[in-house]
C-alpha cells in the first residue's frame, strides 16, 4: 500500500496531487484538439485562478462559470494573475438588482457570453446591447433548465430584438451521471444541439457555438454535432467518476487527508473527515460516502459533519494513522475549504487559493 497523503499536515486537509492534475488537464486538452472541438472548461469544480490559467495554457478557448461572481474572480483584471479573457456564464441568468451593471463591468475586461432559456430573460439583458453574447440553453434530457429546439427559435428572436449577439446553443447532458448513462447522454446532447441549431439557422440566425459536455460524457462527444466542450470535474475526478467508470482511481487528483480518531468496534474505524470537508453528496448508486484508495476493501458507511464511519474486513489503519479519502463530488468538496494543498511525492510544494469559494451569485 502506497501512502498518498502529505506528511506532517494537520487533518482534515484537502490536497491535490499535482502530477495527476497536470496529466488530467493535458489528456482532456489533447482529446479536444484531436477531435477538433474547442475546450471551455467549467471553473466551478476548482474555483482557483491558478488552475484556470493552467487550462488556458493547455489550449482552452476560455472558461465556463456558473455565477457572475465566479466570472469576476476568474477574469483577467488589475491585481489578479488571471489570463482568462473569454468567459461563458453557462447559467440561465435572470437579470435583477445589480446584474446588468456587474455584467457591464465584466464586458470591459473579457469577451462575455451568458446562458438564457426564455425570451423574458433575454429581454432583461437589453441594456447590454452590442456588448454581450447569449447562448441558448437546450434541455437534452436532464429535465433541469433549458428550452426545446423549437423554443430556441423564440429565444433567438428575443436576442435579435435586444441587439445582443447570438453565439449559439448549449446543453448540459447531466443524465450522463448515471451508471452506463454516458454514451446515451452524449447521443442526446449531439442530436438536440444539432436540431436546435438547425431550427435557429432556418429562422435566419447564424449559430456558431454548439456547446455540450460533462466529464462522464466528454469522451463520447459527437464531434460532428458538438463543437465546444465544458467539462469541469475532469481536472480532479472524484469517487463518482470512479464508480461511474469514467476514470480509474489513479486519475483522482484531489483527496482529503484524515486521521483515525476512533476504533470503536472490530471492523469499524472513524475518520475526522466528515461532510463539512468531503461534502454530503451521495448519489443513490454510489457504494458509500467516498472512497479510500489506500484501503480498497473499505466502505464509508456513515458520514456526519466531522465523522466518517468506515467498515473494513481487514484490520485496517490504527488509531492516529493518516488515511486519504476521495470525496464523492469534488465540486462541493472544493467549495468547503479556503485553499488546496499542492502535493508532489507526499510533500506540500504550494497552495492554491479557492478564490471563488462560496461565490453563489
Amino acid at each position: 500500500m502506497t501512502s498518498l497523503c502529505p506528511t506532517g499536515v494537520p487533518t482534515p486537509a484537502t490536497f491535490v496531487i499535482v502530477r495527476r492534475l497536470v496529466r488530467n488537464l493535458n489528456a482532456m486538452a489533447a482529446f479536444a484538439r484531436k477531435s477538433g472541438i474547442a475546450l471551455r472548461p467549467h471553473a466551478k469544480s476548482h474555483k482557483c485562478v491558478e488552475i484556470a490559467n493552467m487550462q488556458i495554457d493547455a489550449g482552452a478557448k476560455g472558461m465556463s462559470v456558473a455565477t457572475i461572481g465566479e466570472a469576476e474572480i476568474l477574469c483577467r483584471r488589475p491585481g489578479s494573475t488571471s489570463t482568462v479573457d473569454d468567459i461563458f456564464i453557462s447559467y440561465p441568468l435572470w437579470a435583477a438588482d445589480d446584474t446588468v451593471s456587474r455584467l457591464s463591468n465584466l464586458t470591459d475586461r473579457v469577451r462575455l457570453s451568458v446562458g438564457a432559456d426564455s425570451a423574458e430573460a433575454v429581454s432583461r439583458l437589453a441594456p447590454l446591447a452590442g456588448r454581450l453574447s447569449v447562448v441558448i440553453e437546450i434541455d437534452s434530457g436532464l429535465r433541469r433548465s433549458g428550452t426545446t429546439p423549437t423554443g430556441a427559435v423564440e429565444v433567438a428572436r428575443a436576442v435579435g430584438a435586444a441587439n445582443l449577439q447570438l453565439d449559439g446553443v448549449f446543453t448540459f447532458p447531466g443524465h450522463s451521471y448515471l451508471p452506463s448513462g454516458a454514451s446515451g447522454a452524449a447521443e442526446d446532447e449531439g442530436r438536440l444541439l444539432d436540431e436546435a441549431s438547425s431550427l435557429v439557422e432556418e429562422a435566419g440566425f447564424a449559430t456558431i457555438v454548439r456547446s455540450g459536455g460533462s466529464t462522464p460524457s466528454a469522451l463520447h462527444t459527437r464531434a460532428d454535432q458538438v463543437n465546444e466542450l465544458r467539462p469541469g470535474v475532469y481536472v480532479f475526478n472524484d469517487a463518482q467518476q470512479v464508480e461511474l467508470g469514467t476514470v480509474s482511481m489513479e486519475d483522482v487528483a484531489l483527496m482529503v487527508a484524515s486521521t483515525v480518531v476512533s476504533r470503536p468496534a472490530p471492523g469499524r474505524i472513524v475518520l475526522d473527515a466528515g461532510s463539512k470537508v468531503l461534502g454530503p453528496d451521495r448519489p443513490t448508486w454510489s457504494s458509500g460516502h467516498g472512497l479510500l484508495p489506500e484501503w480498497p476493501g473499505a466502505r464509508i458507511v456513515g458520514l456526519w459533519e466531522h465523522h466518517a464511519v468506515v467498515e473494513l474486513e481487514e484490520d485496517g489503519p490504527l488509531l492516529g494513522e493518516t488515511v486519504a479519502v476521495v470525496p464523492n463530488h469534488v465540486c462541493t468538496a472544493v467549495n468547503l475549504v479556503p485553499e488546496l494543498l499542492v502535493v508532489d511525492d507526499c510533500r506540500v510544494v504550494d497552495r492554491f487559493v479557492v478564490a471563488a469559494r462560496g461565490v453563489n451569485r
Copy 2:
C-alpha cells in the same frame, strides 16, 4: 400566502427570521430549566458568536463545539465580543501536531473539556494534566464513535492515570434522526449514560456529567438519567426536523431567498438556490431536497450546484419571483456562507458573521 423573504436582496441569500430564532432559543432554555437539565448547545449549527452569546444569556451553562478551531473562535478572548467561558469539544480528539498547544492556549481562557473514547487518545492529552477535563463518549446506538459502558471504565482509568479531570460521560443519540426514532433514541441515551456512569462510579471515579441530546430527542430526554443536553439545530430548525415531526414549519428560522430563473415546462420551475447554498444533504426518508414554506404543494425533485428543480401542481411563482427555501440540514447550509442576513418583518436589520465557517480542525 405570506412572503417570507427579505425584500430587495440579491439571491441566493441565506437569512434568519430573528423572532423565530429568539422563540426557539427561549423555548429550549425553558424546557431545560423546567426539567432541571443543564443546557450546553452545540455551536456547529450556527457558528456565530452573536448566537452563542444569546444562548448564554438565555441560561446555557456553556457551549459544545466539534473542533478546536470552533472553540478558538467562539471563546471569550481579547478582540471578541464572546461571553462564552465554558466549552466542551464533544468529539473524540486524537492529539497530534499542534493539538496540545492549541488546547493549552484555550485552557488559559475558558473551562475546557474534550471527548475521548479510548485510553490511547486520553494518554496523548497527559501534557494537559491539571488543566483539562475529559468526558467519555458512549455509543448509545448510533454506531459511530463512542465506547461501551464497560469500555468507559478503562478510559476513566486512563484519565486518572494522566491526572486529567474526569467530568463524566456523553453520547450523541443520532439514531433519533429517523422517522419515529426520537423517543427510542432518548430511551437508549438515558439507559446507556446511566449504565456507563454507574460502572465508572463503581470503579471509584466521580462522574458528574451525563450529557446527551440532539434536537429530535431533546424533548424526550429522561431527566432522571441525563443532566446535560447538547442540541444544535433547534435554534434554526430545518426541513429534516419538519419532516421528522420535531417542529412545525412556523418554527423554522433559517431559509434561503431564491429567484425563479427558469420555467422550462408546465409544472416545473428552476430556482437559483442549489447545493452550494442549501447543502446537498438528503436523507433517504426526506420528500425532497428542501421545502418551500410559501408553496406547500411543491417538491424539490432535483438539486445541482446552482439549480433547484421544483415540481408543483398549481401554477406556481413566475419568472423573477422570490421564493424561500428551507434547507434539509441547516448545519451544512450555514457552513456555506460568510454571513446570515438577520430579518425582521421582511427587512434586513443586521448580519451575523459565520465566524467559524469552514473551521474543520
